[in-house]
Amino acid sequence: MKDPGETGAPRGQASGTAPPVLALRGVSKSFGAVRALREVSLELFAGEAHALAGENGAGKSTLVKTLSGVHRPDEGEILLDGAPVEFGGPAAAQEAGVAVIYQEPTLFPDLSVAENIFMGRQPRAGFGRIDRRAMREESAALFKRLGVALDPGRPARGLSIADQQLVEIAKALSREARVLIMDEPTAALSGNEVARLFNVVKALREHGCAVLFISHRLDEIFELCQRVTTLRDGAWVASEHISGLTPDDLVRRMVGRDLDALYPKQETTPGEVALTVGRLTREGVFTDVSFEVRRGEIVALAGLVGAGRSEVARAVFGVDRWDAGSVEVGGRRLPAGSPTAAMAAGLALVPEDRRQQGLVMDLSIERNIGLTGLRSVRRGPVISRAAERDRARDWATRLQLKFTRLGDAVNVLSGGNQQKVVLAKWLATDPAVLIVDEPTRGIDIGTKAEVHRLLSELAGRGIAILMISSDLPEVLGMADRVLVMHEGRLTAEIPRERATEENVMSAATGRDAGAAA
């Protein structure tokens, strides 16, 4: 990874001497009693891609909003080309050349791409008419500069999120933005789109722009950026060159502890068989799937997206019906298609889609946790509010849930905390078998480590865990055994000692070479 000074600063920056384009010095910002930023400093130089790292709630969004004029700092100052400025609002920041590209841009869907780019500043021809041709040509030139092919004449409606981001970037360029802030731009993009965005960022750097890049994905930070500033709990931790860092270093700065805690796998001796799936088949979805999970064991179900892993989990739990085969929990055969029976037998499923399936987003934390225990918190036919509340509080505390009130709707919680509520809701049923489907997807790295520790502890207490995951390091780090699915069939079973990224991937892609145990 290169220094900003080494590469691409053809305009402006004489390395080391020019002041940063935009800088924060000792900035603090509070909301009521919450200190969102504490004496944070940041320098953005022309021609660099600068990463902003930190967990959920570390203060990244507040920092972005301060740079873009949405929030005014309580203390400290913003420097533009070395001179203090005050942004009265987002318009002033824009005027000064600061542009923010959001995860999901906001375009006028019925206007053309070019009209969106020049909204409010349309080039004029005679008699004050809008010069559509000039607008289109300039837009085309901007896209050419960015090295992308996008038709300026088409309407914005129907553009992919990646394309919408490009339109926003072109808009920023047309306003001669010198600082582009990208707030998790890759979260909703596919692999190819990410690669294209990275090329655009390189082009921007070559034009002398400074890019502030925010992402949860460490590999992206390491691939794209030259420097990184890390925040933790609203405070500045470090600003440094990426070339001298390892991903572990960065995680340690973000989380404040070591990475080896990310996969805290306890050794356990597997006990008796808790879950037996025998030749389970759902036509057109999966075929002849057989496996066992023992008490104290974490079994990972790996495979590509669409291999049928979640579908197997859904069938086992009874959300979907199966056509043939059997599911036994603790030796008891389950009827097909009844989550209620599966629950009664001691099965629990933390589903893939937390917002649709895992939680009732409008209901409170307390009610969500209570939903699986409607029978257990009763006094006679009537629910005991106290028992309901105790059950929720107990589990919220055990899982270190961060919340203001148990009565708050779960939709105000962060993704990681929402996942904890789902886990709490199921652990409160005291399950014998816990199925977790993508348990750490979309949650920050600190919470991820907590979830892993929790799973490991649960296995240590004799719960049988079936973990579906597309995160290979997670599979290898947590599983006692890895089952691999490919196109609806189990293609490999690999014990922990022999599992590697290579043999799991080759079984997942159907290149069976030596993977089957």
């Binding site: 969102a36 709630g57 906001t106 006028f108 869907p109 998790e184 209570g370 409607l374 629910i383 962060s414």
Partner: protein, 353 residues
């Protein structure tokens, strides 16, 4: 990271004036507003019309509400679970027609009433099976059965009216509980209302109903028997509507196929006016009872002032629209206030939805 920060920022901003805001939000609760409106209408009525605020009239007004109130209880459970039954008034009519036809045929009333109520339950079962087994939307299903059951009512009784029901029974529904000005239909309503309140707000079934209404899939994933619960709700609605048909017929002393025509609108207006969200997942029974009373008082006032029935119908319709519109408007306004500086349109993705 956005949601988490939003929370800290949000709670932070709320911190200093927290007490004030919670007080406002408590007053801004819809069911409280409706209760306040109820009191206002009562006072205005008392001031404007000398015949209004006397026990005789109020007792009559309440008695006149009996069927609407009873059906509103069952309707509340359905709407909280994001379903609706528009066929209730037709079941009421069918029940009335059947009662008349069987009475005409010389059946004893003690046999007729249970038979009629069971027929109502079957009507509800048909609705429920169409909704839960075939996965059809209840709005469409019950518009269909609204026409179907009313048609059956005419098949059963035709255009004629049957009267002359036994005095003991008509007295029961028109009279007052001895020693009080409380009409029997009201007394008949109190017990079911208490039971419904407990079921909705204090039992597992009630918790499940709110979860189903707010997010059916998540409720199903939590092991709640969504379809079974919905089926039972439709059966209950049919049963209650048929029982309301019996009360209605005896109260007017006349069994006709067109009895209770349009009552479903008054019921739904009362439920929505009571603050139950038509999309499900929100509402209180207290609010619904206030809504029922409000509709009842308004109808009574209009009647006392000789306002034509067309106008009464217009008022019911307007109330329905206002009660659906106001919470949404309030939500939009609240959002505007929270984000004053966001004139940008929503993304194309959101718009396309």
């Amino acid at each position: 990271m956005a949601p988490d920060l939003m929370t800290t920022a949000g709670t932070g901003e709320a911190a200093p004036p927290a007490a004030g805001r919670s007080l406002i939000s408590r007053f801004a609760r819809w069911d409280v507003l409706v209760t306040a409106l109820l009191i206002a209408v009562f006072l205005a009525g008392a001031a404007g019309s000398p015949d209004f605020a006397n026990t005789g009239n109020l007792s009559f007004a309440l008695g006149d509400l009996g069927e609407i109130a009873l059906i509103a209880l069952a309707m509340t459970l359905l709407v909280v679970a994001a379903e609706v039954d528009l066929s209730v008034a037709s079941v009421l009519g069918l029940s009335s027609a059947l009662l008349g036809a069987l009475w005409d045929g010389g059946w004893p009333i003690e046999t007729i009433i249970p038979v009629v109520v069971v027929v109502g339950a079957v009507c509800g079962l048909v609705n429920g099976l169409l909704v839960t087994r075939l996965g059809l939307p209840s709005l469409a299903v019950t518009i269909g059965t609204l026409a179907l059951y009313r048609g059956l009512a005419y098949v059963v009784l035709g255009d004629k009216a049957v009267a002359e029901f036994p005095q003991a029974y008509t007295d029961l529904v028109t009279g007052d509980v001895p020693g009080t000005p409380i009409p029997y239909p009201v007394a008949l309503f109190v017990l079911p209302a208490i039971v419904t309140g407990i079921v909705l707000h204090a039992t597992g079934v009630g918790r499940a109903l709110f979860a189903i209404g707010a997010q059916e899939e998540a409720a199903f994933f939590a092991g709640i028997r969504v379809k079974r619960i919905k089926l039972v709700l439709f059966v209950v609605a049919g049963t209650v509507a048929a029982f309301a048909g019996v009360v209605y017929t005896l109260r007017y002393g006349s069994a006709r196929a067109d009895n209770g025509f349009g009552v479903e609108l008054a019921v739904i207006a009362a439920v929505l006016l009571g603050g139950v969200d038509f999309d499900g997942g929100k509402g209180t029974l207290g609010g619904v009872i206030a809504g029922v009373l409000l509709i009842g008082l308004l109808r009574n006032l209009l009647m006392l002032n000789d306002v034509a029935t067309e106008i009464q119908s217009i008022v019911t319709g307007l109330l329905l629209i206002v009660s659906v519109l106001t919470p949404r408007l309030a939500a939009v306004l609240r959002q505007r206030r929270r984000a004053p500086s966001s004139p940008t349109p929503r993304s194309t993705e959101e718009r396309n939805r």
